[in-house]
């Protein structure tokens, strides 16, 4: 419950900051009475009101029937997964699709309980296959990154 209140509080503050920013939105020209400011202000205002209500009277969280409570080891894993996702996103372009996907894929597989060798093999095969599928067959250009020098 504490976490929920904290999160709602941060969200509410973010909403209010956005409202403050929206105060400035004025068009040099406007051909209608609404203007660019009214809509986001209205939505943010209503959202903040809803959030404030939830802060005062939080609704109890209805956990799905098979959901286990959060414990420290799970939280640690979730945080490392988030870090891994961020690192993958950052390296995707400069490092290139295939190398970054092999590394990220391998680490993901390990994080989800895969054994060393199968994880490694799967991530290598998968990265190369996906590269061929998307870049060559489906015509979605993917970055080559550090493999740029190779003539492939």
């Amino acid at each position: 419950m504490l976490f929920q209140r904290l999160f709602l509080g941060v969200w509410l503050i973010a909403g209010l900051v956005m409202m403050y920013l929206a105060l400035d939105y004025q068009a040099p020209f406007s051909y209608e009475p609404v203007g660019p400011r009214a809509y986001p202000m209205l939505m943010l205002g209503l959202m903040s009101a809803g959030l404030a209500y939830l802060l005062i009277k939080p609704t109890p969280i209805d956990h799905a029937h098979d959901e286990k409570p959060m414990d420290a080891p799970t939280a640690r894993k979730v945080v490392s997964c988030i870090l891994l996702l961020l690192a993958y996103a950052l390296l995707f372009e400069p490092f290139g699709f295939v190398p970054s996907s092999i590394v990220a894929g391998f680490l993901f597989a390990r994080l989800y309980g895969g054994r060393w060798l199968p994880s490694l093999v799967t991530s290598i095969v998968m990265s190369i296959c996906l590269y061929i599928l998307f870049d060559r067959i489906l015509d979605v250009p993917l970055p080559l990154g550090i493999l740029d020098g190779l003539e492939i």
Binding site: A27, L85, G114, V140
Partner: protein
Amino acid sequence: METLNFLAQGFGVALTPTNLIIALVGTLIGTVVGLLPGLGPINGVALLIPVAFALGLPPESALILLAAVYLGCEYGGRISSILLNIPGEASTLMTTLDGYPLARKGLAGVALSLSAWSSFIGAFIATCGMVLFAPLLAKWAIAFGPAEYFALMVFAIVCLAGMAGDKPIKTLVASLLGLFLAAIGIDANSGVYRFTFDSIHLADGIQFVVLVLGLFSVSEVLLLLEKTHHGQDAVKATGRMLFNFREAKSVFLTNLRCAVSGFVMGVLPGAGATLASALAYMTEKRMAGEKGEFGKGDLRGLAAPETAIGASCCGAMIPMLTLGVPGSGTTAVMIGALTLYNITPGPLLFQNEPTLVWGLIASLFIANVMLLILNVPMIKVFTKILAVPNWALVPIIAIITSIGVYAVHATTFDLILMVIIGILGYILRKLDFPLSPLLLGFILGGLMEQNLRRALSISNGSMDILWSSGISQVVWLLAIVMLILPMIRIWRRRSLRRKAHMANV
């Protein structure tokens, strides 16, 4: 009578062996492209235009190929929604709501086959509608101006309230967040940049693909981690792959209703499959009332959006063929393809190129039948996805999701944004905020604001325009009915309880 002649001529074009093979290949490619989250019919169609051109296909065959890919993509899009709870594109968002719970009950095969069947009915009815009413509907679609669209969006948002269930405030806050997020980026009316923080990457707002894959795919990856940690596995598809007659009968009326409404929505340029499926789901949920199991694996909740998607895809061809106006992003790409063949879609197309138009319509029939036949045996293959262990499945989901996002802008910014949205989505899910109202708010919000302001610019600020036409009055009336319906229900329940109470005393 003349129409039937033309249609027979069209089938003559579509049933040649080459064109049949082309339709088959198209549906197969489409299914695969649609299956990949982030890649949708726009990619599939855009991808195949140069191929069709390079192969020197005649215009009829090229258009048949593109139509087959288009329908195939819509078929493929549902697979990840039902099996993995990851909607690959906007329209299949509603499919996750009851499709995924069904898969969790071990009914993945039934869900897939029933959705294929529903989509087939939708597309079939819509294609019939197209044959009969195309020119008439085109006139009706033109009559829809900004004021009418605004009324329609309000109606849709009123329907959104029907999804509130037992946590009204959380649903409200989530939809408002979505409605707000739609305002990010350049304001289409005044050109003012809103909430972009001087970043050019946000100039066009948040891309839908980034939002949907962040909220659903990334958060699903994190939830799967918890499940793996606690040693839970995915529920495998057990037993039956095909729906039975009783199940088909139980959703048949839903199919019929949603086919008609989906078709009508599809004809409106710009409304498209997402609005069609959302409205279909929400009205069906309202109609089922207390008796429905919507959100927990109701077959009607699966059939409704799927029928509407199938129907609206075919409906979207009408403005393209009769007016030369794209009814959806995909048809916009198809119009581009037609111009390559020096064919300008538009009011004269039916007169100047009858073989092409009727060949296309006939091939829609054929592609639909083909998809149904093709997909039923493939369901067994698709449900095998559930048998893949998490340690192998998650890297694939994570990587394909990233590709899907990268394919939009080819920038690192979007990838980072997706992860951040994903973390937010994960927390929201943990805190029991529903995500689909957020996404629907995002889709409807922009359309609602822009159309309101367009309408008011047309009327020079006078509000009367919003309810002056017959169409908008009907839509407003529907919105009011939607608002009042649940109130009547509550009131009736109360009075019943009071009566029971009185009787007891």
